[in-house]
């Protein structure tokens, strides 16, 4: 049973490792992951640059799209979490984060390029490290050295602090960046693997029906599952970029306001 399945399903790493277009085995190897990250950067820069050239009072066309996008991030994420004046200051950074992750994630359901570049751990680790450094640095800038006293929550009786303070330290400074990175990475990887499995099932039943022609009508089941999972994967792509941005906003907001 196992040797037969091993011929059918490739090693799961083959879904994610791509050979470079040039510069193989060098440090500047440029493969599909890097190409998609670059293309998403160019799309983000192009969308907001072209969208902000005409300064029409009543926006239309690309300016409208850019304004709707930016205002959604500003109102729903930045101002709602951080208040009006801090929200407006941090909205450009949060909008950049949101749109970059969004444009990288939605390649996972786009025809001919079914691959999310955030399913390689490099980009989520970089983004999580960036958020971590930013919220610690902002905490220092706003609260000085007393920033580390925030790990002691108020209203906790004395002897319980020996238990609570290590938990707070580990939770705030170690689990947060780790979970930010792993949440984005694992969601995209899981979606990609699921789509690939349903594709392989459908193609094996409908195209290479190795056990007889009666297998073709059975191929309708993984096909419907594939359609449903593609829709779900698009929802997950949008949702994960929203969640990453709003968690960054929550952590920075926590650093900006002294706890007590």
């Amino acid at each position: 049973m196992i040797p037969v399945l091993a011929d059918l399903l490739p090693n799961v790493n083959e879904l994610f490792e791509y050979k470079g277009f040039f510069g193989q085995h060098q440090w500047y190897e440029f493969n599909k992951t890097a190409a998609l990250a670059f293309v998403s950067t160019i799309i983000c820069i192009g969308l907001f640059y072209v969208g902000s050239r005409k300064r029409a009072m009543v926006p239309g066309g690309l300016q409208n799209v850019a304004e709707i996008g930016y205002e959604t991030v500003e109102q729903q994420i930045a101002v709602e979490v951080m208040g009006p004046e801090n929200g407006r200051k941090w909205a450009p950074f949060l909008a950049t984060l949101f749109f970059w992750i969004f444009f990288i994630n939605i390649w996972s359901t786009f025809p001919f390029i079914y691959f999310p570049a955030t399913s390689r751990i490099a980009i989520p680790i970089y983004l999580a490290l960036q958020t971590w450094v930013i919220f610690i640095f902002v905490g220092f800038k706003h609260q000085g050295l007393g920033y580390f006293r925030n790990v002691i929550p108020s209203g906790v009786p004395g002897p319980l602090l020996i238990l609570v303070v290590p938990i707070e330290i580990i939770s705030k400074y170690f689990i947060r960046p780790f979970s930010l990175a792993v949440r984005l990475f694992a969601n995209m990887t899981a979606g990609h693997v699921l789509l690939a499995i349903f594709c392989i099932m459908t193609s094996e039943l409908v195209i290479h029906h190795n056990s007889g022609i009666w297998q073709i009508p059975l191929g309708i089941l993984p096909f419907f599952a594939l359609i449903a999972m593609t829709g779900f994967e698009f929802l997950v792509a949008v949702l994960q970029s929203y969640i990453f941005t709003i968690l960054t906003a929550v952590y920075v907001n926590e650093s900006l306001h002294a706890e007590h």
Partner: protein, 80 residues
């Protein structure tokens, strides 16, 4: 005798490769219950006070992200 030993070894390999999936299945119980309870409570909150629906929805997404991260760490560890 030898073919029994090799058959046992193949069965052990198959068991080891399946243990990751069992681990993920166990890891998904907790977040399943947690997310279900969380969304239920937030639906009730939105029904009690409809003008706070936006706030409640934001906090619900935040809670879902935290609970789902644990299930996904389990999924990732299957491949490590």
């Amino acid at each position: 005798m030898n073919e029994f030993v090799s058959l046992a070894v193949t069965q052990a390999d198959a068991l080891k490769s399946g243990l990751g999936s069992v681990g993920y299945g166990l890891a998904a119980i907790g977040p399943g219950i947690g997310i279900g309870y969380l969304v239920g409570q937030s639906v009730q909150a939105m029904a009690r006070q409809p003008e706070m629906a936006g706030n409640v929805r934001t906090t619900m997404f935040l809670g879902i992200a935290f609970a789902e991260a644990l299930a996904l760490i389990g999924f990732v560890l299957k491949f490590i």
